[in-house]
């Protein structure tokens, strides 16, 4: 990939990540950390590619480990984040007002 295009991608992604988190209430810190932990589980895709063109035993074994670990990251990250967020519910009478407030 063109070096400078990559640099632009990195810069824009960094700004995006920063902006996304900047106004998050404390109550969501733990689920959010867990959620971002899930998102870097995309490393699974890279691990699969690497294993798919691995030559010889050493490369294949390391590739196997990479895929196994990455799958653990992705699946585990999803399961625990979903379990935590599933529990966040507003009280019934406040359902309407909290929708209007758009936070807390």
């Amino acid at each position: 990939m063109e070096g400078f295009v990559a640099l632009y991608i990195f810069m824009l992604a960094a700004v995006t990540g920063y902006e996304l988190i900047s106004k998050v209430p404390v109550i969501l810190h733990t689920p959010l950390m867990s959620g971002s932990n899930f998102i870097h589980g995309i490393v699974l895709v890279g691990a699969m590619v690497v294993m798919g063109h691995a030559e010889g035993a050493t490369e294949t074994i390391i590739g196997f480990i990479a895929v196994l670990l990455a799958a653990g990251n992705a699946v585990g990250g999803y399961v625990v984040t979903e379990r935590m967020l599933e529990m966040f519910k507003p009280s019934e009478k406040n359902l309407e007002s909290s929708k209007k407030k758009g936070g807390h």
Binding site: A6, A13, L20, I27, T30, I42, F64, A71, N73, Y78
Partner: protein, 457 residues
């Protein structure tokens, strides 16, 4: 097919960003993780058709099956109180995967573009440190590894290992593809050792900040390896997590009043010279019937839960008690200190598990001005976060830490197991205040008594 793969990756990256955005508000958070999950599933399935994958399809699927199954089962089973270490574990796996990707690419010793090789080595270093560091964090929080390990010159030793690792990494980059496999092996081993050495001196209370930092580092490593493999989805998702995680680490450290440099390079409670002031007065006991009456006829009750409440598994009973009070027309609010629980937001998760709606839960800044108009504050399982010494006594180890001003309320009830100073060993002046009454007992038993007493009123 290549075009289809690229489009899928693009949609995947978009869903990740959108999902992360939605996770920033409790109303849409659930939807956010589902969307990100769909993105992940799409990207994973389409990768089977990637043009650079020639073989090993079956082994690949087996690896996904094993890793996925172990993570799925452990993730479903883990108790909410143990969430922080599970996140550390999964994060470590991600860092390890990024490092392993780099290892495969480097072990092949094919000529690489210098920039590609530099990022491969950097990603390997960061990923490996995040891997071994996260595993140590997991072991510490899980109780497998107890205490902190410190020895003289430790920071210098760490620095030495780090410099050695960097030097080897640089040597690998500069040698093109002429490096020895032994050099590469030692490089990885040193990086592993560094991750361990960096984490062992850090105490359990600071671990959340460290986990968050390793989370950001794994993201960065994934982003770098994404460049090595020419995979924009990995680059974008990795760097988004890298920067979001860095900011989150800062926010957490700020919420805990601990600068990141302090967390990484010094001990908790180092500050504060001289003797902390002695608490004056005496602790006055009260029984649960009186507390029930007090709360039932109050206008506003604020409950301050701490980790002790979660350990005693009292949150369900406390919520039952809250509902009884609400039926009597009492306004009940929960006040959460950022360090209640084991990381910022953890206590909210524990309360949510018991069924407490998030809109009666308030954080420090929102609730602190309300204490003077509060009739009864019920402190259950919390200690340092309500200690007025943090405001008044410059010699106290916790001086300067933001606290919940429970002492400003008209009446304070402290639920506590015994008369000791508790986890941190710091004397709590609140317990001796004139408007404070102590209710001794196990959190769950006390909450149970209160529920019973309220029923009889």
């Amino acid at each position: 097919m290549d075009l289809v793969i690229q489009i899928t990756y693009f949609i995947g990256a978009f869903l990740f960003i959108l999902g992360l955005k939605q996770m920033g508000s409790p109303i849409t958070a659930r939807r956010g993780i589902v969307w990100a999950g769909i993105g992940m599933l799409m990207a994973t399935i389409i990768t089977y058709f990637h043009s650079e994958i020639h073989h090993n399809y079956i082994w690949m699927t087996i690896a996904i099956g094993i890793g996925g199954a172990i993570a799925y089962i452990s993730g479903k089973k883990v108790a909410m109180t143990d969430m922080p270490q599970m996140i550390a574990l999964y994060n470590g796996m991600g860092g390890g995967a990024a490092a392993a990707i780099a290892a495969v690419e480097l072990v092949r010793q094919e000529p690489m573009d210098p920039i590609v090789q530099t990022l491969a080595v950097l990603g390997a270093l960061i990923g490996t440190v995040a891997f071994s560091g996260s595993l140590v964090a997991f072991a510490k929080l899980q109780g497998i590894m107890r205490g902190v390990i410190r020895f003289p010159m430790q920071q210098w030793m760490n620095a030495l290992v780090f410099v050695l690792t960097l030097t080897l990494g640089l040597a690998i980059i500069l040698s093109g593809n002429q490096y020895a496999i032994a050099t590469l092996t030692i490089f990885f081993i040193l990086a592993l050792v560094f991750g361990v050495m960096m984490t062992v001196p850090i105490g359990g209370a600071d671990m959340p900040v460290v986990i968050s930092l390793y989370n950001a580092l794994t993201g960065l490593a994934v982003g770098f390896e994404g460049y090595v493999l020419g995979n924009p989805a990995m680059m974008i998702a990795g760097v988004v997590v890298g920067s979001a995680g860095t900011l989150l680490t800062q926010l957490m450290a700020k919420a805990m009043n601990r600068p990141i440099s302090n967390v990484l390079f010094s001990n908790f409670g180092d500050g504060g010279d001289g003797e902390a002031a002695e608490a004056t007065g005496s602790m006055k006991e009260i029984d649960s019937t009186d507390v029930a009456v007090m709360m039932a006829f109050a206008e506003k009750v604020v409950i301050i839960p701490g980790y002790g409440m979660a350990v005693a598994q009292a949150q369900h009973k406390v919520w039952e008690m809250t509902k009884q009070l609400q039926e009597r027309g009492v306004t009940v609010k929960f006040a959460i200190h950022p360090v209640a629980g084991r990381m910022p937001g953890h206590m909210n998760v524990l309360l949510a598990e018991a069924g407490v709606p998030y809109d009666i839960i308030y954080d420090l800044d929102e609730i602190n001005e309300e204490f003077p108009t509060t009739d009864v504050v019920l402190v259950i399982g919390a200690n340092d976060v309500v200690n007025p010494a943090a405001r008044t006594d410059p010699n106290s180890p916790i001086y300067g830490m933001p606290i919940l001003n429970a002492d400003y309320a008209k009446n304070v009830i402290v639920v506590k197991r015994g008369k000791g100073t508790g986890f941190s060993g710091i004397e709590n002046h609140l317990f001796f205040a004139d408007n404070t009454r102590m209710l001794y007992g196990d959190g769950q038993a006390v909450a149970n008594d209160l529920v019973g007493s309220l029923k009889e009123l």
